[in-house]
């Protein structure tokens, strides 16, 4: 009987090994820690707090995955990377997954797999309290006189022109420099993430303004290497449980801390996910 159970366990383990010999899931479990590509320079997504600890919504999502894998939120190693390195670091095997405010797009989906969304971001125009134009209408009326700074990114020109069709676009190397361009008077508006506008306006009430125009929805997901169904399914399942199931504590705390918003109440009954 015992021998039979052992044989059964053995064959189950062999079966698991055979089902996905090359899955990242297996590699990560054997390694004992998860390697996540992310940034360290963009509050409230991924940044160092006053104690020098990496924190933010993206970091929490990584900890959620580590808890799912090892029942330990600390079993995760962060590889700091530029936004431009997100896909290269994934495809060249530097990281197991990328969690770095990465917008899902069909073009990107040709190169990587995306998990289910963990947040839907918007875009907003940050203006300066001492600037020439403060509201979206003033910026629109300024036409091609208005200059807008934005992070160098896919389709960045179009992103700006959706809000300000005639504005001059200034694509800069970091989101912080896009905001610095506003401070320096080089730009009249910084086109940045809605959550960052919220974060900045709340922290510097006299300095920055929300121009009042919010647009665009951008789906943020975890990016994974292609052709690895087991790994993708694991990440999806873990996110589902942490956002809709019985383990929502980490997600909800991050939602309150970083977006200053109360997470929605989950209702039993029909699975609205």
């Amino acid at each position: 009987m015992a021998a039979g159970a052992a044989a059964l366990a053995m064959s189950a383990r062999e079966a698991a090994a055979q089902s996905a010999p090359n899955s990242t899931l297996r590699t990560v479990l054997n390694r004992g820690k998860l390697i996540v590509g992310t940034g360290s320079t963009n509050a409230p997504w991924h940044f160092e707090d006053e104690k020098g600890q990496l924190t933010g919504m993206d970091i929490t999502i990584a900890q959620i995955l580590a808890r799912g894998l090892f029942d330990d939120v600390t079993k995760v190693e962060f590889v700091k990377q530029e936004p431009a390195a997100r896909i290269p670091n994934l495809t060249t095997g530097k990281v197991d997954c990328v969690i770095q405010f990465m917008t899902v797009s069909p073009a990107r989906a040709q190169l990587v797999n995306f998990s289910r969304p963990y947040y839907i971001e918007g875009v907003a125009l940050l203006t300066s309290a001492k600037g020439k134009y403060k509201t979206h209408k003033e910026l629109l009326d300024a036409g091609s006189q208005a200059k807008a700074s934005v992070l160098q990114n896919v389709d960045a020109d179009n992103l700006v022109h959706k809000a300000l069709p005639q504005a001059q676009v200034m694509q800069l190397d970091t989101q912080a420099n896009a905001i610095q361009a506003l401070d320096s008077g080089r730009a009249d508006a910084a086109v940045i993430d809605l959550s960052t506008v919220g974060w900045l306006v709340k922290r510097n009430p006299g300095k920055y303004l929300d121009s009042g125009f919010h647009y665009e929805t951008q789906i943020y997901s975890v990016a994974l290497r292609q052709s690895d169904l087991d790994w993708l399914a694991f990440v999806d399942t873990t996110l589902m449980v942490n956002m809709h199931g019985h383990q929502t504590d980490l997600y909800d705390k991050a939602f309150r801390d970083f977006f200053n918003t109360e997470p929605p109440r989950r209702v039993p009954g029909f699975p609205n996910i």
Binding site: T41, E48, V79, T92, A176, D183, L200
Partner: protein
């Protein structure tokens, strides 16, 4: 001014680790490139053509490419030949190779500036090649070598800032991290510029005293 000082005092602890990383990278790169570069330079000056040719090609390619491109090549292209390096080794390899090429040229220039008569004199009194190199050529070449080499050390400190592009927290990325929390880059850029200035100015002052010490042979 008070505001500036409290800013410096509150920010320095975050930059400190990054500063140490910058100094570490510069030290490793300078050490490797000094040893390898001097050997390459000696080979340029005395080596047979089949050793010089491949070194010449590598050296010219490395010196002709922006350091940034060398780094990305090391990090993203080497995995295709089965060398998937971690960010720090990839960066150190790229930058050491880049600096070795430069130090090799400096060494070659220094050696070739020594008059041929010196070698002949060494041969005449029966010194072997190694003895001529160690006792005759190199001691004289050192003083031609030092000024451009010290410049290259300053370049190494400054070039180390590119390591932030592969996600290693050096002074530059540490600064960007503080900026990512506060979203106020300009004061940090000023502070970082001052720190780089202090390091590099100390190095170049040190170099001037070294040069003075080795300038005992007059032309």
């Amino acid at each position: 001014m008070n505001g500036w000082w409290s800013f410096v005092v509150s920010t320095m602890p975050f930059l400190w680790q990054g500063l140490l990383m910058t100094l570490f990278i510069a030290a490793v790169v300078v050490a490797i490139s000094l040893v390898a570069g001097v050997l390459v330079g000696i080979c340029f000056a005395y080596g047979p053509w089949w050793a010089r040719l491949p070194l010449r090609i590598c050296s010219d390619i490395l010196r002709g490419t922006p350091l940034l491109v060398v780094i990305f090549t090391s990090y993203y292209l080497l995995p295709f030949i089965g060398l998937n390096l971690q960010p720090l080794p990839a960066f150190l390899a790229a930058m050491s190779a880049f600096m070795t090429a430069h130090v090799g040229e400096i060494t070659r220039g220094a050696i070739q500036s020594i008059a041929a008569g010196q070698t002949d004199a060494g041969k005449a009194i029966g010194l072997t090649f190694g003895q001529r190199l160690v006792y005759v050529i190199l001691p004289q070449a050192v003083r031609r070598f030092l000024p451009p080499w010290i410049n290259s050390v300053t370049d190494a400190v400054k070039g180390s800032s590119l390591v932030s592009l592969v996600g290693i927290v050096d002074l530059m990325l540490a600064a960007q991290q503080v900026i990512g929390r506060t979203y106020e880059p300009l004061p940090i850029y000023v502070l970082a510029a001052m720190i780089y200035f202090v390091i590099n100015y100390s190095l170049s002052s040190l170099s001037r005293s070294l040069e003075a010490r080795y300038a005992y042979v007059r032309d």
